[in-house]
């Protein structure tokens, strides 16, 4: 990869983290009247998608969308003002967080209902196809939403019509406060995709070179062949916490719909392994990782 692109992305990931930590602080201070879902640990996904995203592409988001808005150009001030429902916010203070859209950046729809955006993405992709616009729809979903019937319907429909669509599954292993193993059987998305004649790729460990290569290639294939893809990316939503349920037991929850309440120095907002995209890309700055 071009070193300047690599450096730019690593810096972007770091800045996105800093802004989220700053917003977390404001959440702790009670500055926002609305619920906000932070995406600390998801920054490499959005930064790399923004890098390969073409002007004619479209982006459909979920309730956990802050990392995408930052990657696609929103400033801390625009987001903070939006979360305070001020007219100077990114959407003039009208959408808040969970439905926040930024059409100027190609983000034309955002839904807080699990699986809801997948169906809308089909129409956007179909319109691109019949108008021969060479764009791709990036629809973001997660390991919780793929349990919905809407996911099955959408993948089948996209495959049947050969739509230019990439289903990006951010798999953080948690839905509300419940881990995958606590709520369902494992889903083998590779087999699922294969059964519907849809291509499948997976990514993990936040290597931005790897991410960019895979995402660029997928985009090229989708434009050339109208072959929908599922891209599953393992993410670790940092900021997990323990809930004390009785005197002797604590339960770990790695999901947060609100502020990360623990001590900023010990709270898991940064981790020293490759599940943290900031750590994983420190090597780009030529700094030590101890």
């Amino acid at each position: 990869m071009n070193p300047s692109v690599e450096s730019k992305l690593a810096k972007k990931i770091k800045v996105m983290r800093e802004i989220q930590v700053s917003i977390n602080k404001k959440m702790l201070e009670g500055q926002f009247p609305i619920p906000i879902h932070l995406a600390i640990g998801h920054e490499a996904v959005s930064a790399c998608i923004a890098e390969v995203f073409a002007p004619q592409d479209k982006l459909l988001l979920t309730h956990r969308n802050i990392h995408f808005h930052l990657a696609f150009g929103a400033t801390e001030e625009q987001l903070t003002n939006e979360y305070m429902l001020k007219p100077s916010g990114l959407a003039s203070g009208k959408l808040g967080s969970m439905n926040l859209m930024n059409p100027q950046a190609g983000n034309i729809y955002t839904s807080n209902i699990l699986g809801n955006n997948l169906s809308v993405a089909l129409g956007v992709a179909f319109s691109i196809k019949i108008k021969k616009q060479d764009g791709v729809v990036w629809v973001i979903t997660g390991d919780g939403a793929i349990e919905e019937g809407a996911f099955y319907e959408a993948v089948l429909f996209a495959s049947s019509l050969r739509l230019p669509i990439i289903f990006v599954v951010e798999n953080n292993g948690w839905s509300l406060g419940t881990s995958i193993s606590e709520r369902r059987a494992q889903i083998d998305l590779c087999k699922f995709a294969g059964s519907m004649n849809v291509e499948f790729q997976t990514l993990k460990d936040n290597d931005i070179n790897d991410y960019l290569n895979v995402m660029s290639k997928i985009r090229e294939i989708v434009v050339a062949t109208n072959q929908p893809h599922i891209l599953e990316i393992e993410v670790h939503s940092l900021g997990g916490f323990y809930v004390a349920e009785d005197q002797d037991s604590k339960r770990y929850i790695n999901y947060h719909a609100g502020a990360i309440k623990t001590d900023p120095d010990k709270n898991g907002i940064f981790e020293k392994n490759n599940t943290d995209p900031v750590f994983a890309n420190l090597k780009i700055f030529n700094v030590g990782t101890s």
């Binding site: 479209k58 439905n99 034309i108 729809y109 955002t110 839904s111 209902i113 809801n116 997948l118 169906s119 809308v120 993405a121 089909l122 129409g123 956007v124 992709a125 179909f126 319109s127 691109i128 019949i130 108008k131 019937g149 809407a150 319907e153 959408a154 089948l156 429909f157 049947s160 019509l161």
Partner: protein, 316 residues
């Protein structure tokens, strides 16, 4: 040449979708198989329009229409049965609520057949447009007369979601122009037999996809030389007290409200309440046999035309 409701609506669809640079008509069996009893006939021949037989996935299909409308592509979802739309309620309510304030750049029409012909069973005979209109806050049109169909297709040129419903019972009936159209309001078509004979002026206000009962009542009253207006609701909505329609209804001495829908909540109740509050003489007829709808029935409308007319005559 006389056209059936099916043929007339089909011709309106073809006419409407011939005018777009790009458009999509979609649904199950619309350009193969039964073509929804002919509603889908020839839709694959419209220039620049993709007519698509789809998967059986109503939730996704509702989302598809919203995605197309977001992308400035007009579309029509032809749905064989109104009850299938229940599977798409998340899209119709939640998605629409996010996008209805000017974000949809093209019309998205959902055209549903209300299976009111009877003997279909408890799950196939849904006729609850009031609830759909309330949940979606979308314009909801009854395709119950030629004039209503014309009005609905005209109003649905506006970008955004539009729900349309027609009666299965009517599909093979002849859709003839009425001889007596007097006024078109935003929410209704008014047909009148007004006579200047000093008798009380009666309004028969019809809600629902089936106006047969209301037409029969109107005809009987006319035969008896009453001055009677048939007010056929086109767009199901709360009727504003300051609207032209309300002022025209209230101009009658006696008002009969007939609702052929099976909802538990009714916009017709709202109208009757407001008319009563204005001191008007109201008879309200709504369906009340919900106990029977949990089994296979003939689904006949319970209002007896003769007794409705007799009650009016007694009071006048």
């Amino acid at each position: 040449m006389e056209l059936t409701f099916t043929q007339y609506i089909n011709s309106k669809i073809r006419q409407k979708f011939s005018g777009y640079e790009h458009s999509v008509i979609f649904g199950q069996n619309i350009v193969s198989g039964s073509r929804i009893s002919g509603l889908g006939a020839g839709l694959d021949q419209i220039d620049n329009c993709v007519a698509l037989n789809t998967t059986n996935s109503e939730n996704s299909l509702m989302g598809l229409g919203f995605g197309l409308a977001l992308s400035e592509t007009p579309s029509l979802f032809l749905m064989k049965q109104h009850d299938f739309a229940l599977l798409g309620l998340d899209q119709l309510t939640n998605t629409h609520n996010v996008l209805r304030n000017g974000r949809l750049m093209a019309p998205f029409i959902v055209l549903m057949v209300v299976v009111d012909s009877g003997f279909e069973g408890p799950q196939a005979s849904l006729s609850s447009l009031d609830e759909f209109a309330s949940l979606t806050r979308a314009p909801t049109y009854f395709l119950s007369s030629k004039e209503n169909i014309d009005k609905a297709f005209e109003l649905s040129n506006e970008p955004g979601l539009h729900l349309m419903a027609l009666s299965q019972k009517n599909m093979k009936s002849i859709c003839i122009p009425s001889q007596e159209v007097v006024i078109e309001c935003d929410e209704a078509i008014i047909y009148s037999h007004l006579l200047n004979d000093g008798k009380a002026k009666i309004a028969v206000v019809s809600f629902g996809v089936d106006i047969l009962v209301a037409r029969k009542i109107t005809a009987e009253l006319s035969e008896k030389h009453y001055s009677v207006s048939l007010i056929n609701i086109t767009k199901l909505t709360k009727i504003n007290l300051t609207s032209e329609l309300f002022s025209r209804i209230i101009n009658h001495d006696k008002i009969v409200v007939i609702d052929s829908g099976k909802s538990e909540i009714h916009f017709s109740t709202d109208l009757a309440y407001n008319l009563k509050a204005c001191g008007k003489d109201i008879d309200l007829y709504q369906r009340h046999s919900s106990q029977n709808w949990s089994v296979v029935t003939d689904d006949a409308i319970e209002f007896d035309v003769k007794s409705v007319v007799q009650k009016i005559m007694k009071g006048n």
